[in-house]
């Protein structure tokens, strides 16, 4: 076991940090938010040029090899930089799904275009009743002579307002559970497909996707049943770990700006940093960040070594823990900024809002704790 970054991983991290420091400034971000741009395609292409979408994709599939570890290094950096681009949800998540089904020509082509930045791919897997469970859906897929008709409403589709391609899950009419699960790859111009909504509270992309009698060819079906579920589950787990790394980056960012703020801010004639209560608060925030980063490593370990049940449980544990302490640590960044913390004019609040959004992705506390609890109890009865 080696718990340090390799030299290559260090290089990736350093180059990501360099890029982020140069490209992502708070002023630029505010300007983009004011313009109402959720995903800037030029910025998206730059991430592609850096090779960040191909990292974690096997070379055989047109990627650059490496693993989810490298994805987490990039996501952590982007989390700290408050990038508006949905690297994890539109860079990592769909790449995992497409890689698994690349025997399908359209999937392989989509993957290549995703890696090159030419195509933005959104995953429409969640619905109001899902809360993290990819089988808890109501969108229907009905067979026709030469294909399918899809109808339903997908929620929290990141990139849905700008995507070229959608990966969409549905249940085949008349079938339930795993047996009925279908995964489609469809283009944005198909009739009956419409994004609905505005954006998320942290000003990043996220909308509903409404499917109204969407007619698609048989060739758009990528996977069914057990095959579809196994890949969806492992991809969701990997994506969740990368999201948690992003959360760690946001915690680090909040800690950095807050420590500077309380050093500079004077009240009662002294620097705020001279108050022990604030020193201890910051100590707790940084302790949480260190533990959060370790929790991400526990989950990476499970991705590498564990079977599906244990893997999902440990990822769930990581997500529940990191989002809970991450919300707390970033909220304390606001607290220590006083009134300035709750304004758009200071950057600290954006870290907290990012944590709120990460908490909402891929299932919240209720779902993650339930997954972990069930696995924990099943382990007891097995021994």
């Amino acid at each position: 076991m080696e718990l340090q970054l390799s030299d290559e991983q260090k290089l990736i991290l350093e180059s990501a940090q360099r890029y982020a420091t140069e490209e992502y400034t708070f002023d630029k971000r505010r300007k983009r938010v004011a313009e109402g741009v959720t995903i800037d395609r030029a910025a998206w292409s730059q991430l592609a040029e850096l090779g960040w979408f191909g990292i974690g994709v096997p070379e055989a599939a047109g990627g650059f090899g490496a693993s989810t570890i490298e994805n987490t290094l990039i996501a952590e950096t982007l989390g700290k930089a408050q990038a508006l681009e949905p690297y994890t949800m539109c860079g990592v998540f769909p790449a995992r799904l497409l890689t698994a089904f690349r025997q399908n020509e359209a999937a392989q082509a989509a993957l290549e275009n995703l890696i090159s930045g030419e195509a933005l791919v959104a995953v429409a897997w969640s619905e109001a009743i899902s809360r993290g469970d990819p089988l808890a859906i109501e969108t229907k897929a009905s067979r026709t002579a030469d294909g399918w008709v899809l109808s339903g409403r997908k929620t929290l589709v990141v990139g849905g307002d700008a995507a070229d391609l959608f990966l969409v899950t549905a249940l085949e009419d008349g079938k339930n559970g795993t047996e009925g699960l279908r995964l489609f790859l469809i283009g944005k111009s198909v009739a009956g497909l419409s994004p609905e909504g505005d954006k998320l509270i942290d000003w990043t992309s996220g909308v509903d996707l409404v499917l109204q009698d969407v007619k698609v060819d048989q060739s758009t079906l990528l996977a069914s049943g057990e095959d579809a579920l196994a890949v969806l589950s492992s991809s969701l787990d990997e994506t969740a770990v990368v999201l948690c790394a992003e959360a760690v980056g946001a915690m680090e960012g909040a800690i950095e700006v807050t420590s500077q703020y309380i050093r500079d801010r004077h009240q009662y004639g002294v620097s705020l940093s001279s108050f022990q209560v604030l020193q201890h608060r910051m100590a707790d925030m940084v302790m949480d960040m260190v533990l959060a980063r370790s929790a991400v490593m526990c989950a990476l370990q499970a991705l590498a070594n564990a079977g599906p049940a244990e893997r999902s449980a440990k990822v769930a544990g990581c997500k529940a823990f990191v989002t809970r302490i991450g919300k707390w640590a970033t909220s304390q960044g606001i607290q220590l900024h006083g009134g300035y913390g709750i304004t758009e004019e200071y950057s600290v609040g954006q870290f907290y809002k990012r944590l709120l959004v990460i908490d909402s992705f891929l299932g919240r506390q209720d779902f993650q704790l339930e997954r972990y609890t069930k696995w924990m109890i099943s382990g007891l009865s097995a021994t």
Binding site: Q267, I334, G339, G341
Partner: protein, 402 residues
């Protein structure tokens, strides 16, 4: 100690409920329940309705239009209003400056200003904090210099809630630059339309503009708008801040409304084929919050019933309730957002702040807009009215003499 319900209180509760049912307009209630802060329109409309009934200033003495309620009745009234979704009235007027005026003001000031507050005609906004005077309020730098029959005010205030809606502004300014900190401050009432006043709204994290900065550039305030004596403003301010903590600190009725909302929504929301409320990992965490809420509520009831004593925290109880009440509100609003799952991440514009956006279609369930905004406002609750760190200092100083 006995726990027999008081039949007079229960009868009063029924009376309040009947009034709310008859008089609270449905559109105001819908907006009130949504979670966005009440704007000017909501506050003033509701205040006028209450004034007609004689209920608009529950804490005021009878001679100034108060309804002569007991502390328990006031609490019941607040609770029923919250649960019904009634808008929050103009706290700056009714809760903060009104009592200062009737306690320290001249007969002319009382006659001139109290009716407008009571009847919902004048919207008052606060001018206390400054960019470099937050928790350390006494270090404020805005100045007022006497010039004939006027004072001339120069400086800047910040965190003025509803600043853009303000008709009148009560503010603190330094009248004696040589006196030490608290000693040289005076308390003024200012018509916000006076030349030289500029209000700049501040964008908050949830996207609204409820807060504002106020700039004063050679603003002339008539001498008769000074409260009490020159340089004694700090005394009136302490009185006001004590009222703020005592009346609004715990906001126990708001805690009850959050719990009620979470349960209602979690019974409608589904996790797969089950109501969300049936999920043990959700329900157990909610139960913990409810249990804490009942203890806070009982603490408030104890203070209402017999004032301060050593078993309820004594003089520190206001700070105890403010710190713990606001922190519980933060946990509850976080849970409220969790309840709506994916839609908890969506941005919904504040239609009280921007009435032009009202009645536009939106994505998600009817109850989604406002929940996230409320979670974000609640981050401010542990900052305003004396940050919770300061409240904890007060608690340890009061109870241990540290």
């Amino acid at each position: 100690m006995d726990f027999e319900p008081d039949s007079a209180d229960e009868a009063f509760r029924e009376e309040v409920r009947a009034f709310l049912k008859a008089e609270l307009p449905e559109d105001l209630a819908v907006r009130g329940r949504a979670g966005f802060l009440s704007g000017h329109e909501e506050a003033m409309a509701w205040q006028k309705i209450l004034a007609k009934k004689g209920w608009s200033v529950p804490h005021w003495p009878v001679e100034y239009g108060g309804p002569k309620w007991t502390a328990r009745q006031r609490y019941i009234f607040d609770e029923e209003c919250y649960l019904a979704g009634a808008p929050v009235t103009n706290i700056g007027g009714i809760g903060l400056v009104g009592p200062v005026i009737f306690t320290f003001g001249t007969p002319e000031q009382k006659e001139r200003f109290l009716p407008g507050i009571r009847n919902g005609d004048t919207f008052w906004v606060q001018g206390f904090s400054e960019p470099n005077a937050g928790s350390d309020l006494a270090s404020l730098r805005t100045t007022a210099v006497r010039d004939g029959d006027h004072y001339v005010i120069n400086g800047q205030k910040i965190w003025t809630s509803h600043g853009k809606f303000g008709d009148w502004n009560f503010l603190l300014a330094r009248t004696d630059p040589s006196a030490k900190k608290q000693a040289g401050i005076s308390f003024f009432l200012l018509d916000i339309k006076t030349p030289g006043v500029t209000v700049r709204p501040i964008e908050s994290l949830e996207g609204s503009h409820h807060l504002a900065e106020v700039f004063y550039d050679n603003v002339r305030v008539p001498v008769e708008n000074l409260i009490g004596e020159e340089n004694k403003g700090w005394n009136y301010t302490k009185f006001l801040l004590f009222n703020e903590r005592a009346f609004y600190g715990a906001e126990a009725p708001a805690l009850k409304r959050y719990l009620q909302k979470i349960k209602k929504i979690a019974s409608m929301e589904r996790a797969g084929d089950q109501p969300l409320i049936n999920r043990p990992t959700f329900a157990a965490r909610l139960a913990e919050l409810e249990i804490e809420m009942t203890a806070i509520d009982m603490t408030v009831s104890r203070v209402i019933a017999h004032g301060l004593d050593e078993r309820n925290g004594g003089a520190a109880v206001g700070s105890i309730l403010k710190a713990r009440g606001t922190e519980l509100a933060q946990k509850l609003t976080d849970m409220l957002v969790e309840t709506i799952g994916d839609y908890g991440a969506y941005y919904y514009p504040d239609t009280n702040d921007e009435p032009s956006l009202r009645n536009l279609p939106f994505t998600g369930p009817d109850y989604a807009p406002g929940l996230m905004a409320e979670l974000i406002y609640r981050r401010a609750a542990s900052i305003y009215g004396g940050a919770n760190e300061v409240q904890r200092n007060i608690v340890s100083k009061t109870l241990f003499g540290f």
